[in-house]
C-alpha cells in the first residue's frame, strides 16, 4: 500500500462505515417493506381479463389497467360508508379509551391510592388478551340467549345501532391498559419537586392534576392519540370476529374488512391492493394532519 493511499483512508473510512452498519437494516427494509409495498402498487394497476367462458388454459390473462382499480376503489360507496362507520366508532373509542387511561394514570399516580400495583396490573391485563380471544369472550356475553347482561337489562347488544357500542367496548377494554401504562410511566418521570412546590403554595391534589400533571403529559397524550387513531383506522379484528354471531355487521363494515373480502373472499387481489393503498394514504393523511394541528403544543418547548 502506498503512503498516499494510507493518508487518504482516514478520510474515506467514515464515509463508508455508516453504510456498512446500515446495510442490514436497509436490506431488511427493502426486502420486507419496500418490496411488498412496491408489489402492492404493481398489483393495484393490474387485473385479470378472461375471454369467453374463462375455462381452460389461456382463457385468463393479467393485463395492465393503470388507475382503473383506484378509480373503482374511490368511487365505491361501500368504502366511504365504511369510513363513516369507523369514524363514529373511532371517535367513541378514542374519547372513552384515552379518557379512562388518563383518569386511571392520574389516580394511580396520586399518593393516596392503595393496592396501586394490583390495580395497575388489573387494568393492564386485558391488553395481554389477544384481540380475537377478547372479542369472542365479549361476543358470548353479547349473544341474546347466552348473555348474563341481558338478564339484568333488556337491550339487544348486537342490534343495528348497539353493535357499534358493543365493539367499542371491546376495544376500550383491551386498550385502556396500554395507554394508561404509557401515561403513567411519563407521570412517574416528572420530578416530584414540582408537586412539592405546588403543595407548599397550597394547591390541592385536583389542582396539581389539572394544572401540572396534565400539561406535562401532553406529549404522551398526543403519542397515544396517534397510536389510537392508526389502530382504529385499521379496525378489523372486532367486527370480523363478531360478524358470524350477528346479522348487523356486513362484510364491508370497516375499510380493512373490505380489503379482506376483496382479496380472500371474492378473490380479487387487484381491487384489494388498490383499496389498501387508498386506506394507507388516508391514514397517513389523518395521522399527519393530527400531528400538524397539535405540533406546537406537543413539541413547542423544544
Amino acid at each position: 500500500m502506498t503512503s498516499t493511499a494510507k493518508r487518504r483512508r482516514p478520510r474515506g473510512r467514515p464515509s463508508l462505515a455508516p453504510y456498512l452498519i446500515l446495510t442490514p437494516a436497509m436490506v431488511l427494509f427493502a426486502l420486507f417493506l419496500a418490496l411488498p409495498i412496491g408489489y402492492t402498487v404493481y398489483l393495484a394497476m393490474r387485473r385479470t381479463r378472461v375471454s369467453g367462458l374463462g375455462l381452460g388454459k389461456g382463457a385468463r390473462r393479467e393485463v395492465f389497467v393503470g388507475f382503473d382499480n383506484f378509480a373503482a376503489a374511490i368511487s365505491d360507496g361501500e368504502l366511504w360508508a365504511g369510513w363513516l362507520r369507523v369514524l363514529g366508532y373511532g371517535a367513541l373509542v378514542l374519547v372513552v379509551m384515552l379518557g379512562l387511561a388518563l383518569l386511571f394514570a392520574l389516580l394511580l399516580d396520586s399518593a393516596r391510592v392503595r393496592l396501586a400495583r394490583f390495580s395497575r396490573i388489573a387494568i393492564f391485563l386485558p391488553y395481554a388478551v389477544p384481540g380475537v380471544a377478547a372479542t369472542l369472550l365479549w361476543g358470548f356475553l353479547y349473544l341474546p340467549s347466552l348473555s348474563p347482561i341481558r338478564a339484568v337489562f333488556d337491550v339487544d347488544l348486537l342490534g343495528a345501532t348497539t353493535v357499534t357500542y358493543s365493539m367499542a367496548n371491546v376495544a376500550v377494554w383491551g386498550g385502556v391498559g396500554f395507554n394508561m401504562l404509557v401515561l403513567y410511566t411519563t407521570l412517574r418521570a416528572i420530578p416530584r419537586d414540582y408537586y412539592e412546590a405546588a403543595r407548599l403554595d397550597g394547591a390541592s391534589e385536583l389542582q396539581i392534576a389539572l394544572r401540572i400533571k396534565i400539561p406535562m403529559l401532553v406529549p404522551a397524550i398526543i403519542l397515544t392519540t396517534v397510536f389510537s387513531i392508526i389502530a382504529t383506522i385499521q379496525v378489523f379484528t372486532e367486527p370480523a370476529t363478531l360478524r358470524p354471531l350477528t346479522n348487523t355487521i356486513s362484510s364491508t363494515w370497516s375499510p380493512l374488512m373490505k380489503v379482506y373480502r376483496d382479496a380472500f373472499v371474492t378473490g380479487d387481489l387487484y381491487s384489494a391492493a388498490a383499496t389498501s393503498i387508498v386506506i394507507a394514504a388516508i391514514s397517513i393523511v389523518l395521522s399527519f394532519a393530527f400531528l400538524r394541528v397539535v405540533r406546537d403544543r406537543a413539541f413547542g418547548e423544544g
Binding site: G52, A59, L143, A160, P244, L245, N247, I249, T266
Partner: protein
Amino acid sequence: MRTQRLGAVLAAALTLSTAACGASEPTPEAAPATAPAGPVKLTYWTWAPNMDKIVKVWNEAHPDIQVTVSKQAGGDDAAAKFLTATKAGNPPDLVQAEYQHLPSFIAADAVADLKAETEPVKGEFGEGVWGLVTLGTDAVYAIPQDSGPMMLFYRKDLFDKYGIEVPKTWQEYGEAARTVRKKDPKVYLGTFSSKDPGAFTGLAQQAGAQWWSISGESWKVNVADEPTRKVAAFWDGLVKEGAIDDMPYFTPEWNKALNDGKLLTWPSAVWAPGVLSSNAPKAEGKWAVAPLPQWNAGENYSGFWGGSSVAVASKSPHRAAATQFATWLNTDPAALDLLVKEAAIYPAAAKAQAALGTAPEYFASQPDFWQQAATVSAGARGFTFGPNVSVTYNAFKDGFDKALQNGTPFADAVQGMQDATVADMRKSGFQIAS
C-alpha cells in the same frame, strides 16, 4: 403494527425455505434402483376428519407414492387459500374442492384436466354429480368425493309433544311453524340463516333453480330466477310474521337452542348427524330424518348442500401419481369403506351404498337412515356452478343480513345476488348471454 407485519413476512419466508428443503431432500432407504428420484411425494389439502388415517392405508400399500395430509380449516377460507397458493406458485398436489368452488379453480387455471386418467372410473358416478366436475364440458377437473343431498331433520320427541305431523310440503311446514308458536312462544320450528348461502342454494335447487348455465361460449346467469324467488318469498313470509326465527346456524346461540329443544327442525344435508352430535350432544337419539318438504305434494325433489371433489393442481409435477391416489380414494371399495367409517361422509361413488350399513350413532333410533338418504339422493337435483360463486355467496350474506336487519324483502337480496354476480363477471370479461 410494522414489526408484526415484518414478523409475519419473516415467518412466511422461513416456512417457505424449510418447505423447499423438505421437498428436495432425498429419502435414501426407500429409493428403488430404477427410479432415481425416490418415491413421489404428494401433499393433499383436505378437511375431512381422520383423512390421515385413510391416507396411511394408502401409504403402506404404495411405498412409491407417499401422500401427506395437510389439514385445512375448510369452506370458503380453504378455497381462497388454495387460489392464493396457486398464484404464489406453491399449491399442494391434491386439494379438496367443494363443487361450488371448483369452477373458480378452473377459471384460475389452478386444477388439471384429468379426462384421460379418469376415463375408466367415469361409470362409478351418477350423471348429476359427474356434471359438477365437468361443468358440462369435455374436460374432467376433479374426482367426486361426497355429496350432500338435503333432508329434513326434526325432533321426533317434541313433534309428538306438540302434536305436529312431519310436514310433507312447504305449506305444511309453514302451518306447523305457526302451530308451534301458538303452543309454546319460546320455541321455533326452525330458523332462517343469513350466514349459510350453501343451505339456501340447496333449497333453491330443490325448487328447480338454475343459477348458471353454459350456452356455447357464454355464461347464462339467472340467480334471481322464478324458483329462487319463490323460495325467498316463502322464508321471507315466515320470518316476517315471526313464525320462524332468524338466528344464523353454527353459532353458540344456535347450539344452545338445539340443545334446549327450542328449535325443532333443521333442513340440512346428509352430513348433519356429525354436526348435531358435536353441537347438540344432549339431544342424542331424539332427532329423526325425513325427506325435505316438497313444493307440490307427491314430488320427490331435493337439493345439495355441500359435497366436494378431489382435484389435482395444474402446477403439480406428479399429475399421474396424484390422479392415481385420488381415484383410489374415491372408487376403491376399501377406501370408500374407510371414508364412510373414518371420515363420516356420504361418498359420491354409487357402489359406496354397500358400505353404508348401520345408521350414525346419533340417529341410533332410526335404523333406516342410509336408506332414507339413498332415496332422497335419487331425487336431488343440482346445477352448474359459475366461476365466481364466492361473490354470489358473499352477496347472499350481506343482502340477507340487511333484509333481516331492516325488514326489507328477501326478493331484493336475491336480486342483489344476481346483480353482484353479473357485475363481477362483466368486470373480469366473462362473456354473458342475456
